[in-house]
Symmetry: C2
C-alpha cells in the first residue's frame, strides 16, 4: 500500500470507530501528542488530547450512523490531509482530517467537521454525492 492508501485506510478506520462507538479504537487512532486538536460541528476548538478524547467518549456513548463519502487525500511527506463528506441520517457535513505518520502508523492529529446547510448543498456541490470511492491526488 502507498502512504496515500494507508492514510485513507486510517480515515476509514476512524469512521468505523466513530459509527460503531469504538472508543478504544478511537483512542488508538489519535496521535499520542498532547497538542492534537478537534472542532466538532458547532463546537469551539478543543486543544489538548484529554479534551479531545473526552469529547469522543461523550459522542461515542450514543454513536450516530455516520458514513464517510468522497474521501480525497493530499499527501506531503509525513502529513496527509483528508477531505471528505460525512452523512448522518440525511444530514450532510464536510470534514477535514489531518493524519501524521508516527512509529505505529498514520494517526489523526486534527479533526474538523461542519454541517452543510441544505440551501447551499446543491449549487456548490461539484462532487458526486453518491460516489463512495476515494480519490487520491
Amino acid at each position: 500500500m502507498t502512504d496515500a492508501e494507508m492514510a485513507l485506510a486510517a480515515n476509514e478506520e476512524f469512521y468505523r470507530a466513530f459509527a460503531q462507538g469504538d472508543l478504544m479504537a478511537m483512542d488508538t487512532l489519535w496521535s499520542g501528542d498532547d497538542d492534537v486538536t478537534c472542532i466538532h460541528p458547532g463546537w469551539d476548538i478543543l486543544g489538548d488530547r484529554y479534551s479531545v478524547l473526552q469529547s469522543w467518549q461523550s459522542i461515542l456513548a450514543a454513536p450516530p450512523p455516520v458514513e464517510c463519502r468522497n474521501a480525497r487525500v493530499r499527501m506531503s511527506g509525513n502529513v496527509a490531509v483528508v477531505i471528505c463528506d460525512e452523512v448522518i441520517v440525511g444530514d450532510a457535513l464536510a470534514a477535514t482530517n489531518v493524519y501524521v505518520l508516527e512509529e505505529d502508523g498514520w494517526k489523526i492529529c486534527h479533526h474538523h467537521a461542519s454541517q452543510i446547510l441544505a440551501a447551499v448543498r446543491d449549487p456548490v456541490a461539484p462532487q458526486a454525492a453518491n460516489d463512495p470511492s476515494p480519490s487520491i491526488h
Copy 2:
C-alpha cells in the same frame, strides 16, 4: 524567521486580505495547485482552484471585518496546519488553514471555517478569547 513564524505570517496575511477584500493578494496567497480545497461556513466542499477563487471573489466583494485570534501552528516538514478563531462582528468561528511551502513561500492549500454555536462557546473554550498572540507548539 522560523518556518512556523513564516507560516503564521502567511496566516496573518490571509486574514488581512480577507478583511480588506484584497482579491489579488488572496489569489497570490493560495497555492497554484488545482487541487486546493475550501469549506466556507455552512458550505459544501469546493475542490478546485477555480471554484475556490470564485468563492473568494464573491465574498471579498463585501468583505466582513474578520479578525483572527489565538492562532497556533503544527509544523511537519513542508506543511503547516494553523488552527485559529475567527471573530466577525461578535460571531465566533473556528478555522483550519493548511499551508504548504512552495517556491515562492508558504501558500494556503485548504481552508475550513465553521460557526461556533453560542450555546457551546463557554463550556468548551479553554482558550483565552481575548488573547491575540499566536502560540507555536
